[in-house]
Symmetry: C2
Subunit: 388 residues, 2 copies
């Protein structure tokens, strides 16, 4: 049967990463492609305890409030208040199905077809897809070792660009791995105020700073910022709990839109998440464990890269998050390399998958979080073999 799809859908770029995940899901492939937390780092037993407790109350199986169960909004509000240094109330929080849904709802609440927006280049592909689906006119501003190039953004604004929003992963960038410093954060918020756009601060990785000191959020520098957070990387993806905190007219609009989008989230997984986030001694220890493991894995991956491929690459030095960004200085085309690498038993994402308009042909994103050190080293050895 023929079914005519909407023109909007045709504007959404397919996710090369997603297709790759299928390719690299073979059990014999060590995949550094996904952004998956290590399964042994996910607190399955603690979740089981909280699930059992939640399910002693009828509310855990009923519909919940569209904006999220009260207990979760309270603990998220408390955490966010501490992070951004000014009071955030439960009414300022909307809980979503991962931060991806927050992004989708923000885009749909703010944007009409043709509205200009700014993304980073390389870009978090999930953001690009959401903005394309909303019909936005996407402008890209480069990211360097210090994060989003605010100087270039300022030039574009001075030349007349008037975006509705600027999307940024300022802390432990996906895919680039870098973190914006305080000066650039302050400058970004100043531009937002001057030109009237909103900053969408997509922050799933902030708490995964190896040194235990999460970067001060962009939202701490001003209020024209929507902060998106997630339990996926710090607790477990299957909870499907994310949230946004932002200006009241926007959170109200997002809540209204969420109502028609899926009525509400799961009171069961939200109640579990609330218990885990509110159990401070446990959550603090859990985060510390995650950070230590991740730091060790990042060190193992970068050491292996230096040993096996040091003569033909430059790479980022992770200080948190989940990714290492590699540039092949010998001109290796990573899209061509990938099938050979998968044949050798290792997966990654070619840089071109994150390009907004071509580029990054010799780059690759490698996730260090999924495997223990020995497997990471083996993965890099396989990659080196694929290059010979």
């Amino acid at each position: 049967m023929t079914v005519t799809l909407s023109r909007r859908l045709a504007a959404v770029r397919g996710s090369a990463i997603r297709d790759l995940l299928t390719l690299t899901a073979r059990p014999d492939v060590l995949s550094l492609a996904g952004g998956l937390p290590a399964s042994d780092a996910l607190p399955r037993e603690r979740i089981a305890e909280a699930a059992a407790r939640a399910l002693t109350a009828p509310a855990a199986v009923q519909y919940s409030e569209t904006a999220g169960v009260a207990g979760l909004r309270e603990v998220v509000a408390a955490h966010e208040s501490a992070r951004i240094g000014r009071p955030v109330g439960p009414a300022d929080v909307v809980v979503t199905s991962g931060s991806q849904q927050a992004l989708d709802l923000v885009a749909r609440a703010l944007l009409d077809p043709g509205d200009p927006v700014v993304v980073e280049d390389p870009v978090y592909v999930g953001a690009l897809q959401v903005l394309q689906a909303a019909g936005a006119e996407v402008h890209a501003v480069p990211v360097d070792e210090g994060g989003l190039r605010i100087d270039l953004l300022a030039e574009r604004l001075a030349a007349g660009l008037r975006p509705r929003l600027v999307h940024t992963v300022a802390s432990f960038h996906n895919p680039r791995g870098v973190t914006s410093g305080p000066e650039r954060r302050r400058a970004l918020v100043a531009l937002a105020e001057r030109y009237g756009f909103l900053v969408v601060e997509d922050d799933p990785y902030g708490l995964l700073a190896f040194d235990g000191a999460p970067p001060v959020p962009v939202a701490a520098y001003g209020d024209r910022v929507v902060r998106l957070g997630s339990a996926s990387k710090v607790l477990a993806p299957a909870l499907r709990v994310g949230w946004l905190v932002g200006p009241a007219p926007l959170t109200a609009a997002v809540e209204r839109l969420k109502q028609s989008t899926d009525l509400c989230g799961s009171s069961l997984t939200q109640t579990i998440t609330a218990e885990l986030l509110a159990d401070e001694p446990w959550f603090t220890a859990h985060l510390a464990g995650l950070r230590t493991a991740n730091a060790r894995r990042a060190a193992a991956l970068t050491a292996a890269l230096d040993t096996e491929l040091g003569h033909r690459i430059t790479r980022s030095t992770p200080t948190g998050g989940m990714f290492v960004w590699v540039d092949f200085t010998d001109g290796t085309d990573t899209t061509v390399l990938l099938p050979r690498a998968v044949e050798r038993g290792v997966g990654f994402v070619p840089g071109s998958a994150f390009a907004t308009d071509g580029g990054f042909a010799s780059s690759a994103r490698l996730c260090f979080a999924t495997y223990p050190p020995a497997k990471l080293h083996e993965a890099v050895r396989r990659l080196a073999r694929a290059l010979t």
Copy 2:
């Protein structure tokens, strides 16, 4: 701070029902307004067992496939095959966050702004909101005691209307309570084939037939039908599990769109749902219990209505689902009645909330599923007092 919202959002009608739910959520109010299953009918202990079992495996806390965990798609495919009488495979199923998300994704995959669509009048408000958010041009066709007026739809089509889709709740209609017979179902599919539209068969209540014989789905009569199903009314809303089954190009598009919308659903709640739906002896007994309880409640509510208000109303006679539809023959304006009713301690939804373009001013939707018989009788007594 001023935030300019999208024009699209302005087109979405706020849900009067939602505002009412807030109003009627006071503990002293017996609310017949919501479409909430009774809390004591939700299989909390069985869910807790399944949750504990699911959480013995790491997969239950990780990201899952966008289209849903394999085991759930298999059992849904088996159930759907039996319902519509032709083979449905797991690859034909996309699991969504309740059937509301299926509706939203179908609308976004199919519709561009200005595309005509047909809804029922009175309408399921969640469908109207989704279609408005997609920018559709909404045409309404009346529902009578026999369901959607296919004769009137045929007239509109003959006069030139060319909708992309027709949305129908053919079984135990929300809010009207009625069920379309086989002739109308067959005729609807014939029109879909003749005029090239898709039927969106929204079927959350089919399994809640009091006589244990779910109506033969519209999809059994032809293949230009997208079927939407849900675990919310037969298991528990908090699982946030719904699904769609439809033509392959559409399910592929919906899957792609879901990827950018929220990446995937919860592998935890999907694994729980799969276990419960696949446990045939348990699920069969559970459904039988639900049906018996619901039938008793419907009988109690209608008897109370006849006793207390018989002289001034006509009403539907439920044979399944969750709702009784009441028309006040004395011209009572139910929107004016509502605040007085809430003052007396009873809530309902005025008919006007379900009107696409005015109308139903003297009607009301009452949910019989939430309370046991004695409370339903008390609710109707309070309603009668509010009318004096």
